[in-house]
Amino acid sequence: MNCRECTDFLIDYLNGDLPAAQQRVFEGHIQLCPPCLTYLESYRATVKTCEMAHEDPQEPIPEAMVQAILAARAVKHNKV
């Protein structure tokens, strides 16, 4: 396995989707190739920071929007 192939397999490796034999080859490459290990860690951190960036405190829906939605329902309902 080379670094390009190792990069291609990152998503399957992190999902635990690599067949056992391929996983052994992947892990063998990572152990011998510090740049690929560093890359793997930064790929993992990319996914983690994505989640972190969207942990929004939830705001209630504005009352004007609630009324607009209920009014839209009434219009559709009366058309039927």
């Binding site: 192939e5 990069t7 998503i11 996914v47 994505c50 989640e51 972190m52 960036a53 969207h54 559709k76």
Partner: protein, 207 residues
């Protein structure tokens, strides 16, 4: 729908609300919008860039949900069902919007020599777990702005899988591609986002 720690009580409160919705109880519709609307608006805001589009998507999602409540199957959580509906409404709206000029995804992918070795040596990153409160806040804004730099097809798949938590199959169905194509697109989106974040995430002192 009262939030409760007891899953059985929550399930029976939800079943009661669904029964009232099916019976056309006006108060039940208002309750559904008030209890689920904030969460749905947050989803629409994440996927769409305009506040007006997000509000429209939420309204369209609720109107669709009201119409389809008879087909809601009790096996799924009501909130999960509504989440899928608002994601779909937001994607439909996204498709009607003119695309912005985009960088090519190829430019953001890692480069390799013909023998498969890396052209650039990757630098160590700061661990997201080690960031202090201020750094976390800065990183949140940075990551959001860099996700916005991704070509639209890649931004969408990343948002659906890594932020909205849809699985590959659901994502593929919503995007009209095969599950394998959705997986490859997600992988390329993550690689590209990693490239965009790299100058900002390197450990202090790294070149």
């Amino acid at each position: 729908m009262a939030q409760t720690a007891d899953p059985n009580a929550a399930a029976s409160a939800e079943a009661a609300l669904v029964a009232r919705l099916r019976a056309g109880d006006e108060a039940a519709y208002a309750e559904l919008v008030r209890t689920q609307g904030g969460r749905m608006l947050a989803v629409a805001r994440r996927l769409l860039r305009s506040e007006d589009d997000a509000a429209d998507a939420v309204q369209e999602a609720f109107v669709s949900a009201f119409r389809a409540i008879a087909s809601f199957e009790g096996g799924a959580r009501l909130s999960t069902w509504l989440h899928r509906i608002v994601v779909n409404a937001a994607l439909m709206k996204l498709r009607t919007r003119t695309r912005r000029p985009e960088v090519s995804i190829e430019e953001l992918l890692p480069k390799f020599f013909e023998d498969g070795h890396r052209v650039d040596e990757p630098a160590e990153w700061r661990s997201p777990a080690q960031l202090d409160a201020l750094e976390r806040q800065e990183t949140r804004q940075l990551v959001r702005s860099q996700i916005d730099q991704l070509p639209e097809d890649y931004r969408t798949v990343l948002m659906l899988r890594d932020i909205e938590g849809l699985d590959t199959k659901e994502t593929a169905e919503l995007l009209g591609v095969t599950p394998n194509a959705a997986k490859i697109r997600l992988h390329r989106a993550r690689l590209a986002l990693r490239t965009l974040l790299d100058p900002h995430m390197r450990t202090r002192g790294a070149a």
